[in-house]
């Protein structure tokens, strides 16, 4: 049994894989403490699936917290994780997109899940999960509720701000000006996807494009992305949040 763990800036995602099959997955908050997050992952596997750490043959870690883990593990290259996981999910995948809390990554994939090119966007929150966190808070809803809210939109509204801080103020002004929240949410989604589409263009993504990262659980965002990039896409099998973790587990097998 192999453990793949993706320690992100917001959440730590972990999966157990045996014979390339996903057996179990858990997600815990990272809280800026990778060692502690990994311990909580083990505790969750033990309590939720009755799997103790002793049966795990190899642990591969990727993501922001990778270098900060003191327990025995191998480090899995993040881009390689995404490429392997994309092909695991969609064997004909030619590119992948992963939208995390603080960064977006687009990569193109060659034969045998080989990484051909990648781009990281990590300077601006717009295009990453944090952007939606900030806006949801301003609108008084949860991130999970945003897709259903945006779907009720009936009018095109345009946002002038790209910056999360400015957009937050603009959203409050729009609400005060009486604009319907669904229209505001949809405009926010379009702004976010505009940045993501630019990232995709920079690596010239080709279909099938596998979509991962927590934001890709948002079906409305996926729909807007599809409209925007006009490329065949497939959301990562199981749960897009676990894409990098699955990739790490697959790399653990190879002893990479």
């Amino acid at each position: 049994m192999l453990l793949g763990c993706d320690i992100g800036t917001a959440a730590t995602k972990a999966v157990l894989i045996k014979d390339d099959k996903l057996l179990h997955k858990v997600k815990v908050a990272t809280n800026a403490n990778p060692d502690d997050a990994l311990q909580r992952v083990h505790a969750a596997f033990a309590s939720e699936a009755g799997i103790s750490a002793t049966v795990i043959e190899q642990t591969a870690i990727t993501g922001w917290g990778q270098q900060k883990v003191s327990a025995q593990h191998i480090n899995a290259n993040h881009m390689n994780c995404l490429a392997k996981a994309a092909v695991w999910s969609e064997p004909s995948a030619r590119s992948a997109l992963c939208l995390g809390a603080q960064q977006g990554i687009a990569l193109s994939i060659g034969k045998e899940a080989r990484l051909l090119d990648y781009r990281v966007s990590d300077k601006c929150a717009n295009g990453a999960g944090k952007f939606l966190d900030v806006i949801s808070e301003a609108l008084g809803c949860t991130v999970e509720e945003t897709a259903a809210i945006a779907e009720l939109s009936t009018n095109d509204l345009s946002m002038s701000s790209q910056c999360a801080v400015f957009a937050e103020s603009e959203v409050v002004s729009l609400v005060n000006a009486g604009e319907p929240v669904p229209d505001i949410m949809e405009a926010i989604f379009r702004s976010l996807i505009k940045n993501v589409a630019t990232l995709c263009k920079r690596v010239r993504v080709k279909g099938p494009l596998v979509l991962g990262g927590g934001l890709m659980n948002n079906h409305r965002l996926v729909a807007i992305l599809n409209d925007s990039i006009k490329t065949e896409t497939a959301v990562f099998a199981q749960d897009p949040d676990y894409m990098a973790a699955v990739g790490a587990a697959l790399l653990a097998k190879r002893g990479n």
């Binding site: 800036t9 800026a32 990590d122 103020s169």
Partner: protein
Amino acid sequence: MIFAGVDVGSMSAEAVLMKDDEILAASVIVVKPNPVESATEAMAVALAEAGLSLEQIDYCVSTGYGREKIPFSDHNVSEISCHGKGAFWADPSIGTIVDIGGQDCKVIQIDAEGDLKDFIMNDKCAAGTGRFLEGIAKSFNVQVADLGQMALNGSDPVPINSICTIFTQFDAMCFLADGRSREDIALGVAEALAQRVNKLAGQVGISGKVCMSGGVAKNQAVVKAMEKVIGHPIQPLRVDSQVVGALGAAIYAAERYLKFDEVIENNCLDKAC
């Protein structure tokens, strides 16, 4: 003659009342959901301090967010001009104003009369604004006003590499988790903020003496870091840095009112001729 200025920002709103070129009262409040409410409340606080009523104001100029919608103002002027005018009133030797507000930063150059010559502002990104400090204060669970003293007690500033203001908060959390002191983090943030603003300053240049306005100028660690990166001393102003915009608006109110006097007078003379 009572002249008033009101300035609505993203985080705070200010009002200044003037009589005979002297400040009668000044107020700073936390913003309300809309600019009209913010301006009304800021003015009410200043009026109460001066023991005056709204009707006693002869002329009022509004500036900042929603400046054209303030019902009790007679005229509106851009906050960039107002910051220049206010700083010039406080110290006529000033040529450059570095204004850092809640969500904006501007580097403003003024001429020998205190009028706007050139400026640059952040219009796409909130990096290098008060929000930088707000996020850190939130992480530390302290008031943003306490960050300056905290930073001055730091000795080994942490490197803040994120550009985005939203990401900086996470950087601070990581440094805390790594066991770095809040003082060193606060100092690192002050220096990072100064560097972002300096990039902006580089695009417009520095002329004459330099001062700072806006709420962030109250953070002495930021002021010290600014002096270091721009290579010029920052002149302390004799007024609260946060009310400089509202002060400038009040001065514009007086200038404009007196100019009308002149116009009327000249017209009368013309007709007499």
